[in-house]
Symmetry: D2
Subunit: 329 residues, 4 copies
């Protein structure tokens, strides 16, 4: 993958994008999973820049929904949802730096059907919720289990097979002093549910505390834009990531790079604020690193910016704004 050799990670990283030591974070080594992103937990692993870590994630329900007869309201125990691996302490990381996380692969694990989606009362994009508070009665609960394999795709129904397009739903660093629910996305990353956080991409995350404290979990076999009902094809997974460290690159919000484009990610309500965050970050990035005058960057993104809706269901909505690298030369 030659583009990676010219990625921001390779050009700015402490390890120059080179692969370092290998680590494993199995379920057993993880022990307790975490339900907040914060500095109050003890690191489960310490790595040097360049480290490759193989992580065994559990699904967003911690495996609690085992069959289509299970009722989510009976099996789930709020706020103990969306369990996360980590935190991983990255040596040398200090506030004002950025972690670069190259996603090398995501594979489903565990018995089939490995995929779960569900209708959960008062959760989702087309229903009243705890905050978009309505008096209407909730929808009925429902669970769908799906076979998920890289080769065979996702068996949504007898008629419909969806492609296996896995990504990490929740990934981020610790906030400086807050401990934020793993259900929420924010400036530190978290539950962004953005399909671009997929194998091949490099995610750049702000470091807010010594060691960075990288958390991740909540893999999805595939997902539509917006994660409409709130539950994608949730899978337990084996995730292989490479972690590098970029010193002195303070990021207000997460960023992402692929072979084709660079992206900024905003999370907020209402949704237009997520779009404003993402596009302002991208405007400023073009001005800071790509030789554009700020207002010219604004005009260019008007004509060539692309938007990807991550989620429209979490406590904050997530949007990525991107531009093709070919316009940045």
């Amino acid at each position: 993958m030659s583009w990676l050799e010219n990625s921001i990670m390779a050009r700015k990283g402490v390890a120059r994008g080179k692969v370092g030591a290998e680590h494993r974070l199995t379920e057993v080594e993880q022990g307790s999973y975490h339900f907040v992103y914060g500095p109050y937990a003890s690191p489960v692993l310490t790595v040097k820049p360049g480290a490759v870590v193989t992580v065994e994630t559990v699904d967003a329900f911690g495996g609690a929904i085992k069959s289509e007869q299970d009722k989510p309201s009976e099996k789930l125990n709020f706020p103990y949802l969306n369990p996360q691996n980590g935190p991983i302490f990255v040596e040398g990381a200090e506030k004002g730096d950025a972690l670069a996380v190259h996603i090398r692969s995501i594979l489903p694990r565990g018995p089939q059907p490995a995929g779960t989606t569900a209708l959960i009362p008062e959760f989702g994009g087309l229903v009243g919720t705890g905050v978009t508070a309505m008096l209407n009665k909730p929808l009925p609960e429902r669970v769908k289990k799906m076979q998920v394999t890289p080769e065979g795709g996702i068996k949504f129904s007898d008629r419909i097979t969806l492609p296996y397009e896995p990504f990490i739903g929740t990934i981020g660093t610790s906030p400086q002093i807050e401990a934020i629910s793993s259900l929420q996305p924010d400036a530190h990353g978290g539950n962004m549910d953005l399909p671009d956080v997929a194998p091949g991409a490099v995610v750049y995350l702000p470091v807010n505390t010594t060691g960075g404290y990288l958390y991740l979990g909540d893999c999805h076999g595939t997902q539509g834009d917006g994660e409409l009902c709130g539950v994608a094809v949730e899978i337990p997974a084996i995730v292989e990531i490479q972690v590098d460290l970029i010193k002195g690159w303070p990021l207000a919000w997460p960023r992402l790079e692929t072979e084709a484009f660079i992206m900024t990610i905003g999370s907020a309500r209402p949704m237009e604020d997520a779009a404003r965050i993402a596009y302002r970050e991208l405007t400023r990035w073009l001005a800071a690193d790509y030789g554009f005058e700020e207002l010219d960057a604004y005009l260019l993104l008007t004509q060539a910016g692309r938007v990807r809706l991550g989620n429209m269901v979490d406590p904050k909505y997530t949007l990525g704004a991107s531009i093709l690298k070919k316009y940045l030369v």
Copy 2:
């Protein structure tokens, strides 16, 4: 284009998608352009289903911005912005029907540089406006003129050439009793600024009054998702459309069809409401016409729905939600 022969227009249209009489609506034949979508204007043209109409549109500024030295605040005269061709009276159209508008081609016209973008005070997605009211000072005004040709693309700058990806920024029918500014998108269509309204696509629009009263204008040479600063690559154009009529198909909001996907379009503030509208319409469409149980459609769109952000700058924001036809068989 064989897919068209199996399009909804072909299957349900009065003219069965067949091409009928040809009409021209030149600048001269148009005479006065319109600044509202409403039933109070007299039709400039009456056509039968199947008619092909070649329309000469002016740009969103009515050509008032002629050079990069022009100041938009001096040249533009609110509310006389975004001039529209039409209304076109479609014989047989009654409330509860739908117009099918197949976009056959869009070509730039007039002297080069044909394309205009600009920064206009208190307008745009990253500035305070008349409704997202701020005390901050406005950005400076700016105009950029660009060569726009189908072969050569769009000369954004010395370094950057953007592809020619034209579409109709504003198209719709008359509301039943309202006359809505051509700057605004709503249930009748209007200023949606959605790049999918492009050559090859068929747009389906609700008929609210006898004759439907089709208006269009505001062509763009290309545009990024969201039309960030509020002004795309605005061009005067020659647009060729084919208009068919579908009886007894009441649409709450506009829809769109291409070879690959079907799309529903919502316009609202905040942006999540535009997404909710689009996705609810799509859910209901799958249930009505494609054999899905409604909640199963909701689950499928969660995994396979796609979102396109049209504009994040108009009086209402516009989003399209779509699904690939291959999942609907």
Copy 3:
């Protein structure tokens, strides 16, 4: 009412706030009621500044809901809702002027029970609607009829009598070229549902067209902040207003004055934009007419501004921002 002699209407009005000719606009004289605010209707009455007009309004349902057994979904015929009196042509009014409308009295009329409230499917602040689109089932329909008298108040139930606190739910001028549904509030006024538009107050409305074209209707016997379910105590009424004209006072949004305070009114979605509009207008008003430096006005309103929520149910939400006159000396 001595404060009126020092009101803005008295100080700036063409008629100096003096009472002029008396006019009546009975149901018979009104003839057809209107369902849009626009310039396309013919004036039903022409008055000089200072005129006092006694208007017979019908309720928001045009009287269609006659008993608690009526089902709104069967009796109401969208978009023919919220019928309005007018337009009243005010001699001398030109774009850039303002109308001053002093509300002298509002009395219920017609047989008792004169008051109606109702639950209407997909309408209201705590339910999914056509734009906050949900898949949840609508609430059941319901109608409540209430005795409404100035002396006896409003008989909400055996246990509860609410005070008679009448106001005009919908009042405004014509937009310049649009015809806007009488269900919608906007910069021209319209369906603001703001309880401060009550007897004793003077409302100031922007003039956008020659003659101003004043419309009004939709009186409420009382209403809570936000008009939560979407339907206040709707009553047919006899409204007495005094209309004056202020030349050369361009208003971006409606304003209001009472003995105690001045208020600016914003209508938008999301709700924070309505608040931003109202507070920015008030900030600018303090700077323009009351000797404040703009940022000092901003600081003062931070400590002493008051907000009244009109509606949280209409196509735009309405908020009034006010400050006590005693701080403006």
Copy 4:
């Protein structure tokens, strides 16, 4: 204060609203102030239900802004803003209970001028911020210091004296597993900036962890609705509260009681969601405790509900919805 003897606190509290032991929490006894609401700090004080606690709060800037020449951007060190007293451990409090906090008095303390307001870059209701992200330049910074005394009021300027109407800007309990910035309001209370949280009122707060962990700080000498520029009349204060415990009263959101009314409090973005939360909670409360059928409560609040806007500047906006007790008999 006889109404208190019939308050919910008196009727349901473990201490029956009776005054118990007296405690002091001076600056010295507090030691480190806190910048998050969470379960990870150690209690600074343990009390029994009925306890009266006298608390020395510092202002929202921790006293860092000492003169009108100070620049907030130089003196403030984000996220170390809005320092809080506590946590106070309430014996017997378990998840599912509620704390009742009767505010007995708030007095300014420290040298005069004790009050501070300021314009802080990218913070406030009428400016672009970190989330409502704009490209406009920030407003200039500004600091205003004010004399604040209970007798003499607040000297806003030579011309304007505002009344001393003190309240607690930030008060709440610990979330169950999160540690939430003291700048943010949410279901646990926090930075609500709601002027009704004033002497005489009883605030009811959900208990999410053993001991409840009560935090408070951020007193204001007065404040307008919405706290427009983001900074009220910030004062260090001596606050006297009485803390009682109500067993088995799970609250989804904070509530408040005065002699005249009961109120529910919602915090969310966009602002309409804060209103929806508050009004749904109030609807449900009327149904649960006051004998109303739910939809009848909805209709009553439509006619008699009142809304108070707390803040329109914090990470979530806060609104209180209330109804007069006289309608609940």
